[in-house]
């Protein structure tokens, strides 16, 4: 995982520009004070006008940091790498045991074994509904990588992979979560699009961050605490 590649900073800003809008909207609703943050974010998120160079990509940075102008066939829609201060094998083992996914994947209600080694996922959707996803493992390299893809009976067509790589200096493991999906059709598809298409990147990043919290601290961080807002419970996260 190369650092400080020339393409990377611009790319990260672009990637964040979608979150910028959502964040600003929420904050304005909250009372208008976040206008300053939104203004700052706007400055930060402004896209560079520079065009990508012609010819093959020479940067050592991961594919998901490429600018849109750079030609690349399989760009994942959601990807994130985090340093987790635990050994590779331990992290792989938890990811292999999918029963623990609901502990850190917010939208996953449950996962059960299905036929021929596949898994059936129940995923929360808006308005109290759920959608079903059936996946099979495509590749499994112990302590290194797990990749999966959805089977035709799924409500969503998706694929993804998680990779584990030793971080330099004995700092732990770089864990990369990469997800792709094809826009689904039909009513269920619309539902899922609402759920996934808008913020698959955010969801993947949150899930990975919660995984890091769980593995490093033994619990998923929550700001659950009292406020004078009557709708909030002191045992539920404050968003």
């Amino acid at each position: 995982m190369a650092e400080a590649q020339p393409n990377q900073p611009e790319r990260i800003k672009e990637r964040d520009s979608s979150i910028d809008r959502a964040t600003a909207q929420k904050a304005l609703l909250a009372g208008g004070i976040a206008a300053a943050a939104a203004g700052a974010a706007f400055l930060l998120a402004r896209k560079s006008n520079a065009t990508a160079p012609d010819g093959p990509v020479i940067s050592d940075a991961p594919a998901w940091t490429l600018k849109k102008a750079t030609k690349q066939a399989d760009r994942p829609i959601a990807a994130k790498t985090l340093l987790i201060g635990r050994p590779r094998a331990e992290l792989y083992a938890v990811w292999k045991d999918y029963r623990r996914f609901p502990d850190f994947m917010e939208n996953v209600e449950g996962i059960e074994p299905a036929d021929e080694g596949a898994s059936r996922w129940t995923i929360k959707a808006p308005a109290g509904k759920t959608v079903t996803l059936v996946t099979r493992i495509r590749e499994d390299i112990p302590d290194r990588k797990i990749s999966w893809e959805s089977l035709p009976e799924s409500d969503i067509e998706t694929s993804g992979q998680v990779e584990f790589e030793d971080a330099p200096g004995g700092r732990g493991t770089f864990v990369s979560l990469v997800m792709s999906y094809a826009p689904p059709a039909g009513r269920a598809g619309q539902l899922v699009a609402k759920l996934f298409a808008r913020e698959p990147n955010i969801q993947a990043r949150h899930d990975l961050r919660r995984f890091k919290q769980l593995m490093e601290t033994g619990e998923v961080t929550t700001n659950a605490s009292p406020s004078a807002r009557p709708s909030e419970s002191p045992a539920q996260p404050r968003v």
Binding site: A37, G85, T217, P226
Partner: protein, 422 residues
């Protein structure tokens, strides 16, 4: 329970809110016995910090008695503890480097996004501050939930009153780290902008660390008086031409290190400051870094700039060329409180550090909104306010104590800095 909640600019109220609950295994619940109003609470009060939400419980300087513990908490019911304002997991890369305020896990996934967007990386969390830093309820309340209670809280031995140890939660370590970041060498002259609580503790710490001289700068006579009693030379910047005075007092060299204990709401009627104030109120900019600009011009060539003062975002007209040409070193950051609590508690127990001298008022929690107004409007009289949830009414500690007691001789206490780093 009763709690001080934020509702908007200059609008804080004591409301009845639900009691906190144990949520995670490492949590503990405290019954608050003392909780202070911090200078940085005024940034919230003035509406300068983005991502506050109406109804948020404020307060990040507090201590109390453990009344409930999660399965993995190492605290026991009945223990008296002081809690660092920074929430730190103790397990991540940053906590392992003792950079506790940079904790990578304490800001929940949902709120971490906002600060990652604004700062480039998700910030560590703090109690009772904006949602950028986690959105946790604070301790200006009867009870508080403390996450990672096996890492942050420090148990206070019996016999030490609250007033002597409360400030281990923030301003004492913040003043200490400010002086540490100034890289003080023997013979140094250190100039401290701002004689609020952090400034006063920075002065005290700089002298303990061996500074030959400390020059304290403010406009409030009461605060300058406290600085003088600690052993500093003082400057009221309304009286003298500050830059000339600092140059003349150091033989043309300038202070070896400068410490910004002012932060984003710098006072003073100067052109740059008026422009900054207008911009801050119209959200065109968040900072009023007048003091910081002065510091960079005042600091000697090759000197050190320490910034414990709080800033929120972008600054205009920052003297970057001066910073570079003069070869200055800047150190800053939220305080790594957990790193300092134990050694500073030791210094308090040995009588080498006094924290009570700046407390001017004790008040009940119900009076908190009134106390915020006083703290905001009467900085000369109200040098530090400590709220006590069990108390009724308000008590002024006569003259902030300084006038009643004999002059302090802090300079004789300790010639060199004790080794703090573990």
């Amino acid at each position: 329970m009763r709690a001080l909640t934020w509702h908007g600019r200059h609008d804080v109220r004591v409301d009845t809110v639900p009691d906190p609950e144990i949520v995670n295994p490492r949590d503990a619940i405290l019954k608050i016995t003392s909780t202070a109003i911090c200078g940085s609470d005024l940034h919230l009060y003035d509406g300068y910090i983005p991502t506050m939400r109406a109804g948020d419980v404020l307060g990040h300087e507090f201590m109390g008695e453990v009344v409930e513990t999660g399965a993995r908490s190492t605290l026991q019911k009945g223990q008296r503890v002081v809690v660092p304002f920074t929430i730190s997991c103790g397990n991540c890369f940053f906590c392992n480097k003792q950079q506790y305020s940079a904790c990578d896990n304490s800001n929940p996934a949902e709120t971490a996004d906002m600060s990652e967007l604004l700062m480039g990386h998700p910030m560590g969390a703090a109690f009772g501050y904006a949602h950028l830093t986690g959105g946790y309820a604070g301790g200006q309340a009867e009870y508080v939930r403390v996450p990672y209670s096996d890492v942050g809280p420090i148990v206070i031995p019996d016999g030490l009153p609250d007033d002597q140890v409360l400030f281990l939660s923030d301003i004492l370590p913040t003043g200490w780290m400010a002086a540490e970041n100034a890289g003080i060498e023997p013979g140094d002259t250190v100039a401290v902008w701002g004689c609020g609580p952090v400034g006063l503790f920075a002065i005290q710490s700089a002298l303990i660390m061996g500074a030959a001289r400390v020059i304290a700068i403010d406009e409030y006579p009461r605060r300058l008086q406290l600085a003088k009693e600690l052993g500093a030379e003082i400057i009221d910047y309304r009286e003298v031409n500050l830059l000339e005075a600092l140059t003349e007092m150091t033989g043309g060299i300038g202070p070896d290190a400068v410490i910004d204990c002012v932060g984003m709401e710098s006072h003073g009627l100067t052109v740059d400051n008026v422009v900054d104030t207008v911009k801050a109120h119209t959200f065109l900019g968040t900072e009023r870094p007048h003091a910081l600009r002065q510091m960079i011009i005042a600091c000697r060539k090759g000197g050190r700039v320490s910034i414990p003062g709080v800033y929120g975002g972008f600054a205009d007209k920052f003297p970057l060329g001066q910073l570079m040409e003069k070869g200055l070193t800047i150190k800053s950051g939220q305080t790594h409180v957990q790193k300092y609590t134990k050694p500073l508690l030791d210094l308090i127990q040995q009588g080498k550090i006094d924290t009570t001298f700046l407390i001017s008022h004790h008040a009940g929690l119900e009076l908190a909104p009134e106390m915020y107004r006083h703290w905001h409007d009467e900085q000369n009289t109200y040098t530090k306010i400590v709220l006590k949830p069990g108390m009724v009414g308000c008590e002024q500690i006569a003259g902030g104590r300084g006038e009643q007691q004999e002059p302090r001789e802090q300079r004789d206490l300790q010639p060199r800095a004790p080794e703090l780093v573990g």
